[in-house]
């Protein structure tokens, strides 16, 4: 198993990350290490073993359907880079 520069570029693009050439190379090496490490699993026959979706052996945690206003609008907009008192303002999405 080896990770290519091409794959790193694609994943970075999907994650909206920008790497310099050096970073890209470093990232390729590190990802390759990780994938090779996980690749060890292929030595075992895991057919018939259901994929683990959660590390804890816990299921069905839910809460009753009750409303609680934990923050108001002012607090919600407080941390926004840009807001107009009612709405979050973001760079225009469509032309």
């Amino acid at each position: 198993m080896s990770v290519t520069r091409e794959e790193v570029r694609r994943i970075a693009d999907l994650a909206r990350l920008h790497f310099s050439d050096d970073e890209e190379e470093q990232m390729t090496d590190e990802l390759d290490d990780i994938v090779s490490y996980v690749d060890k699993l292929n030595e075992l026959d895991t057919s018939g073993v259901p994929p683990m979706s959660h590390v804890l052996d816990v299921t069905d945690v839910d809460r009753p359907d009750e409303v609680e206003a934990r923050i108001d609008r002012e607090q919600a907009l407080e941390n926004a880079p840009d807001a107009d008192g009612s709405y979050f303002r973001v760079p225009r999405v469509i032309e």
């Binding site: 979706s53 959660h54 299921t59 945690v61 839910d62 979050f88 303002r89 999405v93 469509i94």
Partner: protein, 514 residues
């Protein structure tokens, strides 16, 4: 090839907003119409370090919908993160379900339009003896739980887009159908049926205009008789049932025309423009989607064992098809009445409550006629008022108890059918008065006292010797004159049926004497 030589193949993706007080993973309110960003929470805003906690009622709703649509229920299902970047999705991923939808392999039945036209469409034929036409099963591939995104607006005069996160985190189910629909009208019927089901279950108000029910459609055409699919397009911006039907009809014609020209249909997403009545390619650049789904480590699996499933089954109301069948077979209503009365659960409840109240008064007799009398009043008076005033049957001043009083008056022939309508109108205005009191006060009780009517009939016949002779000579149109005379002279409203009957009797007696 003519239009008919092609067969459309349609599949729908429907998002239904679940009726809960709070959001699916946080306790902020879901109420419609609040000020922008007034109903948000650190979780729905995707603040770092916050953790989602699942709303139990949303799961219950999804399970109820699954059971009601004959779906299989996943014993164990997990949430997955679906990654994409858009400002209305603050976390950068939507919590959804991927390879383990909570329900799968269900179906909804609609009325079949015509005979199966291709071999792959024969599954699920099931004749309903009470409906005449056969039913068609529309397969549901999956029903999964997910969270809604926020809403963005793009004001003309602003260089920015504005985001309102109130809707962010509102619980949804996404329902994906098999490509089983064969015409725009079938798609319409399916949506109407689905809407009826979610409303009966009270899992959603199913309001398309307010966005509680949203629909995208995939459509392709193929030469009739072929079993492979043509290239499909995806239609968006279908904001009403009518839009769905219109957009599909337009798009099918467009695809057929393209094929007839020898051009190809390209796979793309199109927006329906209801004003121009055309579909247009979406302006955003089409990038191949790679959502990088993976199980969300912040949420634990949902498991459903037999006990939980039993509890869900026990919580289901009688569904519309079963209820309609019962109204026909057990209650004895004509199929048309049964269909109208079961369209909305509240109206069907209102009918049944009224009928029980009528039974209390009649204590037996022709129950089928009694049911029909209740049905007539609901279909002519109650539904008319509901439509005119756009109100719910639950806050009608004429309660089932009061409507039963009126129906009972009619069944006893104490008010005529036109007087019955007047009583109903006045009952709407005067909610504190019983039907009997209103009929009394406004002099609408019809007299069925045979002797009282007969004495007036006798005197009218006696006092109009000449007219009687003309009548007996063959001018039978004069009967109307006699009826009018009796009605006029009578103190009160005589039962017209009785007046006619007695007049006939007396006039014929004269004939015998002559």
């Amino acid at each position: 090839m003519p239009y008919d030589a092609y067969e459309p193949v349609i599949g729908l993706e429907v998002h239904v907003q679940l009726d809960t007080e709070s959001k699916i993973f946080s306790p902020d309110s879901t109420a419609f119409g609040a000020d922008p960003n007034a109903q948000v929470d650190p979780v729905s805003l995707g603040h770092p370090g916050t953790l989602p906690v699942l709303n139990g009622r949303a799961v219950h709703h999804a399970l109820r919908l699954g059971v009601a649509t004959h779906a299989k229920i996943s014993r164990r299902s997990v949430f997955a993160r679906k990654h994409y970047f858009y400002p209305d999705l603050p976390k950068g991923y939507q919590i959804s379900q991927y390879d383990t939808p909570i329900c799968y392999d269900g179906y909804v039945e609609i009325e079949r339009e015509d005979a199966p036209s291709s071999p792959d469409e024969e599954a699920g034929d099931d004749a309903d003896p009470t409906r005449g036409a056969s039913l068609k099963r529309v397969g549901l591939t999956r029903i999964h739980l997910e969270e809604d995104a926020g809403k963005s607006i793009h004001p003309e005069a602003d260089a920015a887009s504005l985001i309102d996160y109130n809707r962010c985190g509102v619980p949804l189910v996404e329902i994906v159908t098999e490509p089983d629909l064969r015409s725009p009208h079938e798609a319409y019927q399916f949506l109407e049926k689905l809407r009826q089901i979610v409303r009966y279950l009270q899992v959603s108000d199913g309001n398309m205009e307010e966005g509680s029910l949203r629909c995208d459609a995939n459509v392709s055409v193929r030469p009739r008789g072929h079993s492979d699919f043509g290239t499909r397009t995806e239609l968006k911006n279908l904001n009403s049932m009518r839009h769905v039907e219109d957009a599909l009809a337009y798009e099918i014609t467009r695809q057929i025309a393209a094929r007839e020209r020898g051009a190809s249909v390209s796979q793309q997403t199109l927006l329906w423009d209801p004003d121009a009545g055309v579909t247009r390619p979406m302006r955003t650049k089409e990038e191949a989607h790679d959502y990088r789904y993976f199980p969300d480590p912040d949420l634990v699996p949902i498991t459903v064992d037999e006990d939980r499933l039993d509890a869900v089954r026990a919580s289901l109301p009688e569904m519309p098809d079963a209820r309609r069948r019962r109204f026909i077979e057990d209650v004895g209503l004509p199929p048309y009445d049964a269909g109208v009365l079961t369209e909305e659960r509240e109206v069907a409840d209102y009918f049944e409550e009224t009928l029980q109240q009528v039974f209390k008064r009649t204590k037996g007799g022709d129950t089928q006629a009694q049911a029909k009398a209740v049905s007539n009043h609901i279909m002519t008076d109650v539904l008319r008022v509901l439509n005119e005033d756009d109100r719910s049957v639950d806050d009608l001043p004429v309660t089932p108890e009061r409507l039963a009083q009126l129906v009972y008056l009619r069944l006893q022939d104490r008010v005529s059918s036109s007087a019955g309508q007047e009583v109903f109108e006045r009952m709407m205005e005067e909610p504190e008065k019983s039907a009997g009191k209103i009929a009394d006060e406004y002099d609408l009780i019809q007299v069925s006292d045979r002797d009282a009517i007969e004495s007036v009939v006798a005197s009218v016949v006696d006092e109009n010797e000449e007219k009687v002779r003309t009548y007996l000579d063959g001018k039978e149109g004069l009967l109307g004159f006699f009826i009018g005379q009796v009605m006029q002279r009578f103190d009160g409203s005589p039962n017209p049926k009785l007046v006619r009957e007695l007049l006939n009797e007396h006039l014929e007696r004269r004939r015998a004497e002559a």
